[in-house]
Amino acid sequence: MQSTKAIPRSSYSPLRRAFKHGDRPWQGLIVLVSILVLLLVLGIGWKLWQGSAQARSALGWKFILPTLDANWNPALDQFQAWPFIYGTLITSLAAIVLAVPISLGVAVFLAELCPAWLRLPLNWMVELLAAIPSVVYGLWGIFVFLPRVVVPFGEALFSVLGHIPLLGILFTGPIPLSGSSRLAAAMILTIMIIPTITAVTRDVLLAIPNSQREAGLALGATRWETIWQVLLPYGLSGILGAAILGLGRALGETMAVTMVIGNSIESSPSLLKPGYTMASIIANEFSETVSGLHTQALIEIGLVLFAMTLILNLFARLLVWRAARRTPQEVRA
């Protein structure tokens, strides 16, 4: 082989040296895209903020504060969002109350008890439950779930709880014949958030070191006592995080809720009455707004929804992250 001649340095143009066989542009490209992802999140918040500027200055804090006689009259430019905020909160909280015990049971079964051959198919089925499109839940809800399950359940709730003072306010009936009510929305949401809560709780349980289980059993506890008194307290913050993630999902769910909640602004706080949520008022009215302020008011509702889910998600991630990071040493100490 011929001896290679040293390439004179001058033949490297400064530009070429700077590019260093393509690494600088590549690095620049992926950094740029990453910054864009970051800007996207900020941009979403900013766009909602900017898009609701007029509504915020015209309507003020009264827009989102609780009131008893809320006014939503687009023709007269009167907007108060409390009925929607209340509807979102009450349906999501009711869904959490129903979904957490069920999800906890499912997660315990999947993580601790289920025979190995059954684990994979069951995990898949729970995940498929999350994959069914929201509109399909809504359609099935209107024609099947509401008349067959929600109406009888709602009537039972009314006759049992409806006459108790204070608590009874939430269960004043009777439930409409069609079943369209906040309860219907809460029950559909329950089905839809069970997969989320179950999956996170299952992962939290699986991350608990085996020494914890063995210690419980070695002290003579039964399997259930080990689960209830050792594993669940150990994973408590992670499970709480799972519930909050589920809550975040329930708050933003639109289509299925809009299809079953009845879409009417009710002054009664009862679960058995039809209602409205923040997401469903946007879905119903946004493409038919009557004035600029109407559009802005709906965007402001979107902003409130964005802020609520953002805070909840941050809190939940923090909890799950802490639960996953906790090491056995910390527990021993």
Binding site: G105, A131, V136
Partner: protein, 314 residues
């Protein structure tokens, strides 16, 4: 809750029997709850198949909707709309998702890497209707009309976190030795990323993409605010009309993308609210098509992951 030491103290023979019964009861309760949670899944699947199956025929896939009162007609417009919106969403979400994942996987602890993963978490938690509002303000409002383009961008924002996260996870699974071998052979960083890391992680990236498409195909809320709906959308006619008037390919594609379109979930939502039994029946048929599409993509993607991980472990 009772303390564990108290349980031990109380544990006489009677106690022990009670505890055994409680144990058996609670353990079977968890099995019962699992069955209960899965009831809706089977109920929905069987009911949608039974109701929707009756109304599916060839016309359903090949015809545009007919005016009310005239029998027949299909949802071709919605199928085409779904395909167009999904392609747009994939184009807008895959390149940035994969590139940002390269960065996040390579620099997990740099400030920007942490920020990217954090933004991904935040993005995946934003309700889809809020994304729809933003896409409306970004595109529909300035343009002055609803369009497939706006819908594609809204769905792309929804798909981005799914694609970014799966790609990042898959890139992290590629052994370091592969990277180092490539760098040691003198390949540049970008060359290593594109011709070693990317192919090695490709299967995972594809599954992430499939799951993202399945999620986007079932989304309705953002489309309500961005694509609105269009009963007369027909790609074949747009192309034919374009060729007859000698439009360029850009003009034809532009007409495809820059007008309101329908999608399957949007059609389902509209039909479900109408009082005509024919429309309700078609809504069930749409639900069946949508459900089969989404569930089979999910099953394929998950089976793929299973096979891959088993091969890696074995």
């Amino acid at each position: 809750m009772t303390r564990f030491s108290e349980v031990l103290k109380r544990s006489g023979r009677m106690r022990s029997r009670q505890r055994k019964i409680a144990n058996a009861f609670m353990l079977s309760l968890t099995a019962f709850l699992t069955a209960l949670a899965l009831v809706p899944l089977f109920w929905i699947i069987t009911y949608v198949i039974a109701r929707g199956g009756q109304y599916i025929n060839l016309d359903f896939f090949t015809q545009l909707p007919r005016p009310m009162g005239i029998a027949g007609g299909g949802v071709l417009h919605a199928i085409e709309g779904t395909i167009v919106i999904s392609i747009l969403a994939a184009l807008f979400s895959i390149p940035p998702g994969v590139l940002a994942a390269f960065y996040a996987a390579r620099n997990p602890n740099s400030p920007l890497g942490v920020a990217v993963r954090f933004s991904t978490d935040v993005l995946s938690g934003i309700p889809s209707i809020v994304i729809g509002l933003v896409a409306y303000a970004l595109i529909v409002q300035p343009q002055g009309h609803y369009s497939a383009l706006a819908g594609g961008i809204a769905l792309a924002i929804l798909m981005l976190p799914i694609i970014l996260r799966t790609t990042e996870e898959m890139l992290k699974l590629v052994p370091h030795s592969l990277r180092e071998a490539s760098l040691a052979l003198g390949a540049a960083e970008w060359k290593t990323s594109l011709s070693v890391l990317f192919p090695a992680a490709l299967n995972g990236i594809l599954t992430g993409f499939l799951l993202a498409i399945a999620r986007a195909a079932g989304e309705t809320a953002p489309l309500l605010l961005t694509t609105l709906g269009n009963d007369h959308y027909d790609i074949a006619q747009i192309i034919r009309g374009g060729l007859q008037t000698h439009q360029s390919i850009f003009q034809i594609v532009g007409r495809m993308l820059n007008q309101p379109v329908d999608s399957l979930p949007l059609t389902l939502w509209k039909y479900a609210q109408q009082p005509y039994p024919e429309r309700i029946n078609q809504a069930w048929a749409v639900a069946l098509v949508l459900m089969i599409f989404v569930l089979s993509i999910n099953i394929i993607a998950r089976a793929w992951i299973q096979v891959r991980t088993r091969r890696l472990q074995g």
